[in-house]
């Protein structure tokens, strides 16, 4: 039955996260972008929201709540609205926990999940993107080769959040010579997994991301997610796409609201610039496109929650939201004019972050 209204439960999660995002995260956005650091106290506060622990079954110490991509999309938008870097940092453990919940064997869950139900933040991550212009989830260049009862990983990943402190890394790799993709659960310090220097990117500067090189990295076959048969990796990728689409909507909304408020204050020729159609129409289009992308995102998430294949919807939502976020953030800067270019204002940060969505994969998961 068609409805555009979150359930009461979803609304509660959304409101709680929105309040945290506004009061705690947003004030830290600029400082994190400048320093590259996120205060440990903020990370702990974020952890207390329970957005990761909620999904973990009670048997392993979590709250055992049902995993919903729609609910995830709602709170990811709120956190990304406040700051994309901090959102990715706070939610990084989900990059391991969600795949485990979705596809892990009992043994894998039992071994790994309890680590993520502790009182303190525990970092985990996923290694998805590779440093090449034609990076393609459908044909990865990091490979996992079966050899003498083990898998040997080789190749290089990039944009791996929190790799240096992560307890576990979920590595997406091509298995064999075809297009089969497997996810491998590596523990911190595994021989042959080399965490390289922290990356320096145009945006997302508050988030510590790394290149990770695999050289003769040999792991037991039991560390393949889902066991010997593997799992539905496409579904995991679609959950990531939906999450990034929701984050793009959040960043765009941030830019829109900032520019809207500025345009109502700033006077030119005797009136607020928002009273000029040139500005007002830009804002109207931004508002329409944000809603458009959000609805596409919700629809893809809804389809995933029904357990259906949502590849088409998730891909389209992510692409649409990525393009939309860039357009909206660019206009955000444009509406502030010269001031938009100065780092006193947040819109330039939103634009640098928004440009990344075309490239980002695997930084978040719904």
């Amino acid at each position: 039955m068609v409805s555009f209204e979150p359930s009461e439960e979803q609304q509660l999660v959304r409101d709680t996260v929105a309040a945290f995002a506004q009061e705690q995260v947003r004030p830290q956005a600029r400082a994190s972008d400048e320093s590259g650091e996120i205060p440990a106290s903020l990370v702990e506060q974020g952890w207390e929201l329970g957005l990761t622990q909620a999904l973990i079954p009670e048997a392993y110490g979590g709250a055992g709540e049902a995993h919903s991509a729609v609910t995830s999309a709602l709170f990811i938008e709120e956190l990304a609205w406040a700051d994309l870097s901090i959102a990715c940092h706070l939610l990084a453990p989900r990059l391991l926990v969600v795949p485990l919940i979705e596809a892990g064997t009992e043994e894998q869950k039992r071994r790994l999940l309890p680590r993520y139900t502790q009182a303190s933040f525990a970092a985990a991550t996923a290694a998805v993107v590779e440093p090449r212009w034609d990076f393609d989830l459908a044909s990865l260049s990091v490979t996992a080769t079966r050899r003498n009862g083990s898998y040997v990983l080789s190749g290089t990943k990039c944009f791996v959040p929190l790799a240096a402190e992560a307890e576990h890394v979920a590595v997406f790799a091509r298995v064999g010579n075809g297009d089969e993709v497997g996810v491998f659960l590596l523990e911190r310090g595994t021989a042959g997994m080399n965490i390289l220097e922290r990356e320096k990117n145009m945006g997302l500067k508050g988030l510590a991301t790394y290149e990770v090189a695999f050289e003769q990295c040999r792991i037991p076959t039991e560390q393949r997610l889902g066991g010997a048969a593997g799992c539905d990796v496409n579904r995991l990728l679609n959950l990531q796409r939906v999450a990034l689409a929701a984050a793009a909507v959040g960043v765009a909304r941030a830019a829109f609201e900032y520019a809207r408020d500025y345009a109502k204050e700033r006077k030119a020729f005797g009136v607020a610039i928002a009273q000029k159609q040139a500005i007002a129409f830009m804002l109207a289009e931004m508002a329409i496109e944000i809603d458009a992308a959000r609805l596409l995102t919700w629809e893809a998430a809804w389809k995933l929650d029904r357990g259906e294949d949502a590849t088409r919807e998730a891909v389209l939502a992510k692409q649409y939201a990525a393009n939309m976020a860039l357009m909206v953030a660019d206009r955000g800067v444009q509406i502030l004019g010269g001031h938009g270019y100065i780092r006193d204002h947040l819109v330039e940060l939103f634009l640098r972050n928004a440009r990344g969505f075309a490239t980002f994969e695997g930084l978040l998961t719904a």
Partner: protein
Amino acid sequence: MIDFELPPQVQQARDMVHMVAETMMRPIAREYDEREHEKPWDFLHTMWEASKATNPVSFGGGGKKEPGTPSVRNLQTVVSIEELSWGDAGLYLSIPNPGLGGAAIAAAGTAEQRERFLARFRSGPPKWGAMAITEPHCGSDTAAIATTAVRDGDHWVLNGTKIFVTSGKMAAQESDGFVVVWATVDKSAGRAGIKAFVVERGTPGMTVVKVEDKMGIRASDTAMIVFENCRIPLDNILGNPEVQRSTEGFKGAMATFDATRPAVAASAIGIGRAALDFVRAELEKQGVKIRYGVSRNKLTAIERDFMDMEATLQAARLLTWRAAWLMDQGRHNNLEASMAKAKAGLAVTQVTQKAVELLGPLGYSRKYLLEKWMRDAKINDIFEGTQQINLLIVARRILGYSSKELN
């Protein structure tokens, strides 16, 4: 709870209407594009017989329901209109029904007026309703309306010229219909002086002087109507006859658009889907399949274009469903209706124009319907408030400005 599943009754209606679109509209679409100003009477009679019972394409009125009793009526309407317009948008617009005039009566009329003017759509021969707002010198600027309504004893006397009246000829001349005419009772009062009047077919002084030749939607007549000392009964005015200080009455009339804009958006989406289906089928004939899971940087230009078209159309569809759903909940949807209309009108314009480009000679040739869909599509970016007027409404809403503050 957020949900995108159409209720079973809406799905059934959609399937039924789709069959009509495919078997009755598509086969005659080209013919009535070429034979402009002629009517597909067999089709119109069939649609009339069907709509007398179920009225699948009436819109509006959702907001009039008792609070707490949500329906799916407007959702079903937009879903059905999408199907009919997938069949053919011009033929869809020519279907006998109360039309925009009927929507205005449903939104602003008294119970007695609704019965008097709308009951006729339940029986007898086919009938049309129409709405006359635009004048030769003004369109979106409705406050500049120059057609006058002067009270003379038991009558209102209308004088002026209206253009772009959809189904105006059918409503005013060819059937037992009516035209809802916007006129001013007091020019000095500006918008507050604008009122809507129902003029019955054949009323002396109302003359259809011209039916326009158009770029598209040629199966639908677009009339110019002149009112010359046209006398109508006093109680044919919709809403309060008094000129108030505020523009409440005017706003009431404008509220009609909150119901009709999602309907226009739905029609736009139907045309866009037709174009997209055709492009997909032609590509598949040549073995080109759209690869959704592949990196954007490795896709062909055609794949990228196609995916962008598909996403933008789906986004427009969801905005439209949302606007209809709000109305079904009895909630305000002024902002969302304009968002849907602005988005869908532009989306279908861009999608169909790009589709013609993608298919090259197949797109440009009148041997296929695609070029027609591009011509039909453009009207959706114009009527029921142009793209720009809808952006203006959205802008005022999101900025909290009145029409004085942002114009």
